[in-house]
């Protein structure tokens, strides 16, 4: 189908972008990569009066290694993340997840800011932001603010962002020393949205888990952290009984949908299996 008519505005700077959004009083949508927005327009699920195109804002696509963190500009395309030596060196779990993001033609155009703002519950980037304790930099007409990833995702396709705000940057702290990671996903076809996906990080010192993180996508109304399972692992070595208990806790913390692609029970089962695989991989790498 064809998209409905809209007015087209080009933002030449972040300040101009938020000013255009503020002027539109909630009637505008931001056009970044458009890989989720344009299908919704073509289906006429959305009828915004105005599209604010941010693709021409200079200096918003970058991956910077700055001390303890990697800073990623909101307009950075998925393909840049997938192939960045900085990401491969410092955030290998993100590198692994990027190979599951859609298809090359989508990765060439889709942006990190767009994926986080769209907040599909089965997408990889929101779960990676949660796993890596990322912070999200937001510009508004009155200034800038910082939101922790765990406060950013509110529900399916819903984030803590006002209609006149724009994501400008995502900051990922580097992995602590002695940290192993795992990423496991099952989808119907390579590049499709996950039926379930699990990312893990285990920081190990003196043979014991000092910090455990488990993020899950595709199994609830939003990506989430398996806090109870993380708590079970802390201070212990990963042995089979503990692994089983952590997988049970991960299964218990999700509430998956049933749809054409998989039943709720099957998705919950996958969460357990993938958590086991991803924790085992993280333990081996730590």
């Amino acid at each position: 189908m064809k998209p409905p008519a809209f007015e087209y505005r080009v933002a030449e700077s972040v300040e101009a972008g938020v000013a255009l959004l503020a002027d539109a009083r909630g009637e505008a949508k931001v056009l970044a990569g458009g890989q989720s927005l344009v299908p919704m327009l073509n289906f006429r699920l959305l009828r915004p009066a105005i599209l604010v195109d941010i693709n021409r804002i200079p200096g918003l696509a970058y991956i910077k290694d700055e001390g303890g963190a990697i800073r990623v500009g909101a307009l950075t395309r998925h393909y840049q993340l997938e192939t960045s030596p900085v990401i491969a060196a410092h955030l290998p779990v993100l590198r692994a997840a990027m190979t599951h993001v859609a298809h090359l033609a989508i990765r060439n155009r889709g942006t990190i800011g767009g994926s986080l703002t769209h907040a599909d519950p089965a997408a990889e980037l929101p779960m990676m932001a949660l796993l890596l304790d990322a912070t999200i930099q937001v510009a508004s007409p009155t200034g800038r603010r910082t939101v922790a990833a765990r406060d950013f995702f509110l529900g399916a396709l819903s984030v803590a962002l006002e209609a006149d705000e724009l994501v400008t940057e995502v900051v990922f702290p580097k992995l602590p020393p002695g940290t192993g990671w795992g990423f496991e996903e099952v989808s119907r076809r390579h590049g499709d949205f996950a039926l379930a996906a699990v990312g893990t990080m285990l920081t190990v010192a003196d043979g014991k888990i000092a910090q455990a993180r488990i993020a899950i996508a595709g199994a609830d109304e939003k990506a989430l952290r398996a806090s109870e399972a993380e708590g079970l692992l802390k201070g212990r070595a990963l042995e089979p009984k503990l692994l089983d208990a952590a997988c049970d806790a991960a299964r218990a913390c999700v509430n998956p949908n049933t749809d054409l692609h998989a039943s709720s029970d099957y998705r919950r089962h996958l969460v357990g299996v993938l958590t086991g695989k991803a924790l085992t991989a993280a333990w081996k790498r730590a």
Partner: protein
């Protein structure tokens, strides 16, 4: 409806046209410029038939608006070869029977062009992963994979 002037190149030729903002690149190529090699299947970024190169990167032309592409360089399937002078990739598709009805072929060719530039495609599994965003309902993909494998081996 307000239109905007855009200037862009398609297959090396410069075009200046007034476009409505909601005009998709796929419809601009086919309807405005008459370049009907690019096929339109699903119109929501799933089938891959409309894949073209935008500034050398493969993209879905049903998920881009022409108005966004002022100053861009677009390449479509028409840029690859001609009936009497097929490109090596097109020749491999002919040789290995990589098309039947041909509807998906322009998208397959443009996707493969980008894949061959960006990935080693060392295994058939990698080729299949690369093609996972392009639907073909005739061939079962087997012959498309063979054709791309042949190009990888020829250029090694």
């Amino acid at each position: 409806m307000t239109t905007r002037m855009i200037t862009l190149t398609v297959n090396g030729t410069t075009y200046e046209r007034a476009v409505e903002p909601r005009l998709l690149l796929a419809d601009f190529l086919r309807g405005t410029l008459g370049l009907t090699g690019t096929h339109v299947g699903c119109e929501h970024g799933v089938c891959g038939a409309c894949t073209v190169l935008v500034d050398s990167d493969s993209m879905r032309s049903c998920l881009l608006f022409a108005v966004q592409l002022d100053g861009a360089a677009i390449e479509t399937v028409e840029s690859l070869g001609t009936l009497n002078n097929l490109s090596p990739l097109q020749e491999a598709f002919r040789e290995h029977h990589a098309l039947q009805c041909g509807f998906c072929t322009p998208g397959m060719l443009m996707t493969a062009t980008d894949l061959l530039r960006k990935y080693p495609l060392a295994t058939d599994e990698q080729i299949r992963e690369g093609l996972s965003g392009n639907l073909c309902r005739c061939t079962g993909y087997e012959h498309i994979v063979k054709a791309i494998r042949a190009v990888v081996e020829d250029t090694r």
